[in-house]
């Protein structure tokens, strides 16, 4: 660059800076404690507005009293009594751009992956935004594949849906969410790519580090953003974390992209909000949660949407996670979030300990809108699975009197055992659509009825391998969105029988 050009550029930069005096509304810090600041003045500040302290620390206004304003501190800074705090006229938000993909950030957009993050082409997205209205939405009709047989067949999730993952600690809730993120690498069924956002709230740093390592190993960080507010971060950061993740998701959604946001987990988010509310002296309600705890989660999850084609056609799918205590789904926060979401995946500790992984309780798990998003072959073949499993559970209690049971009942019990075995799946091994269909069909068609239970998983994976290698046309057929006719089904059955012959 020539010196004249450089001087011209500097001049342009200088002239573009607005140096006109502005009327600044300010206040004085009265008290400071537990991250909550009481300030007087600030007569024109608004609820949810971002404020700035003399030392450039940022705060969020969360309570307006007659004589004072209560501010939640968002950065670690030394605030002293008598310090000036001024309004910014901005609703708290995050500067978003495509550069965030593959990065690990905190809710204030500070990079946590030791790499520089400079967003100069970003757009400010507010943390709090009113969800899209009815007219702007379209019905959920495209699937988001989790790659988990049990979920894709019985509890299908659609793009734009809110599906809760609920269960006790150590039952595999995060594993399902991570598997779903990893599975988005496969662009099967001709679907658009999915930008994934994993929002960690109140988790241990070590856990988050291992999740990031897993995502990196699986190559999932190429389309994933991690927003992290750990257990050691302030309650205020934990409180805004899911809103930051949602705001980032909305940026991509408004560009017409499909987005998946995992909120891991909203129980800890509710705890953080309870802590803040108690410090702000808001009246405490049931279990000491403030009265607006339902509204807190409903306004967050309501932002999950499938926009109409007129509005860009983007989608934002939400997978909130809730941790229960002693399998109690009737506690305050679980019931709140169950009623907000469009279904739940319920994981049970007993099943997990019995080796059924994912430890899905089929009876209590449901997807209210995802069925419409399921592909026709999957819908056709997965239909009987739920029924056969529930019949199996009913009959299982009689299994101990095995010798007294008639052949039909014994057959049903055996089929249920095979199905339960087929629906087991190791972690980080998501299946594609064809593999899922082959696995489910081989169980429901009775092709595996004579296989010893301990060999079912092994035989299943070999069948999938065999068909994918020898029947490529068939794999293409079943991966489409056309209902499978009798010819295709018999082809599938023949292929399985052919493989069985190789075993003899």
């Amino acid at each position: 660059m020539k010196p004249e050009e450089l001087i011209k550029q500097i001049e342009e930069t200088l002239y573009s800076v607005n140096i006109n005096p502005e009327l600044v509304n300010y206040g004085i810090v009265e008290t400071v404690g537990d991250g909550i600041i009481k300030a007087t003045g600030l007569s024109s500040v608004g609820y949810g507005e971002e404020v700035e302290f003399e030392n450039k620390a940022k705060g969020l206004v969360l309570n307006l009293d007659e004589d004072a304003v209560y501010i939640v501190l968002l950065s670690e800074a030394e605030i002293t009594r008598g310090m000036k705090v001024s309004t910014t006229g901005k609703i708290l938000g995050i500067n978003v751009s495509d550069k965030l993909i593959g990065r690990v950030i905190d809710p204030m957009c500070t990079p946590l992956d030791e790499k520089e993050l400079k967003i100069d082409d970003g757009k400010l997205y507010p943390f709090e935004k009113i969800a899209a209205g009815i007219i702007e939405r379209s019905p959920v009709d495209r699937p988001i594949k989790t790659g988990i047989k049990a979920i894709d067949s019985m509890i299908p999730i659609g793009r734009g849906q809110r599906e809760l993952i609920i269960g006790d600690r150590n039952t595999g809730k995060t594993a399902i969410a991570i598997d779903t993120i990893i599975n988005q690498k496969k662009l099967d069924l001709g679907l658009k790519r999915v930008i994934c956002i994993y929002c960690a709230i109140g988790q241990k740093r070590s856990n988050i580090a291992s999740i990031i390592a897993k995502l990196k190993d699986a190559g999932a960080m190429d389309y994933t953003i991690v927003v992290s507010a750990t257990a050691s971060d302030s309650a205020s950061l934990q409180y805004i974390a899911p809103f930051a993740a949602c705001a980032i998701g909305e940026y991509f959604m408004e560009k017409g992209e499909d987005v998946l946001v995992v909120y891991d987990d909203l129980t800890k988010h509710a705890w953080a909000y309870r802590q803040l509310s108690l410090l702000l002296r808001k009246p405490a309600g049931r279990e000491a949660y403030p009265g607006d705890i339902f509204y807190l989660h409903s306004r967050l999850l309501e932002r999950a949407v499938r926009l109409s084609d007129k509005n860009g056609g983007g989608t934002l799918t939400a997978l909130p996670i809730i941790e229960t205590q002693g399998n109690d789904v009737s506690a305050y926060i679980p019931t709140n979030v169950i009623s907000i979401t469009d279904g739940q995946i319920y994981l049970e500790g007993d099943l997990f300990n019995a080796g059924v992984r994912p430890a899905l309780n089929v009876g209590l798990s449901v997807s209210r809108v995802g069925g419409a998003a399921q592909t026709k072959p999957m819908k056709q073949l997965a239909g009987p699975v739920r029924l056969e499993l529930s019949q199996f559970r009913e009959l299982q209690s009689f299994a101990q009197f095995g010798s007294d049971l008639d052949d039909e009942t014994l057959k049903k019990i055996n089929r249920g055992r095979v199905l339960t075995e087929i629906l087991k799946q190791p972690q980080y091994r998501p299946y594609d659509e064809a593999a899922e269909i082959i696995a489910i069909y081989s169980a429901t068609s009775g092709c595996l009825d004579d296989v010893a239970i301990e060999n079912v998983m092994d035989v299943e994976s070999k069948i999938i391998e065999f068909i994918k290698l020898n029947n490529k046309d068939l794999v293409v057929k079943i991966s489409g969105n056309k209902k499978l006719d009798d010819i295709t089904l018999s082809e599938l059955k023949n292929a399985i029988s052919e493989f069985r012959k190789t075993l003899i």
């Binding site: 607005n18 502005e22 600044v24 300010y26 206040g27």
Partner: protein
């Protein structure tokens, strides 16, 4: 002791500031009749009311009479207190009234320019 309501204390402070002075009788009555909590509240409201009717004009150098007249016209019915602060202001003038600040100083402009350059780098 007289127990006063919050609103009464506020109105009392407003009337004292409006009258521009506090007589010895009123001061004695306040000291003898208000509870400690009410007294604290009264002093707080008094300070706020004084802040509302006072404009602090911080300047560098010496403002001319023309400038002072202009300021008087802008802030009619307000008490203007001139404070000279060459070190902080550099040049120009800064007004503080109520809980607002209007900064016409060179130092504020330099800060804005620096911030602008930093952001565009």
């Amino acid at each position: 002791m007289v127990v006063m309501k919050k609103l009464q204390i506020k109105q009392f402070a407003q009337s004292i500031v409006a009258s521009g002075e506090i007589s010895n009788d009123v001061a004695t009555w306040l000291l003898n009749n208000l509870t400690k909590a009410d007294m604290k509240l009264f002093v707080k409201y008094l300070a706020l009311e004084i802040k509302e009717v006072t404009v602090i004009a911080k300047y560098a150098g010496q403002p001319s009479d023309i400038v002072k007249n202009k300021i008087q016209k802008i802030f009619q019915n307000k008490n203007i207190v001139y404070v000279r602060d060459d070190k902080e202001i550099g040049a120009g003038i800064k007004f503080e009234f109520g809980d607002y600040i209007l900064d016409y100083t060179v130092s504020a402009m330099i800060v804005k320019i620096m911030k602008g350059i930093k952001e565009s780098l």
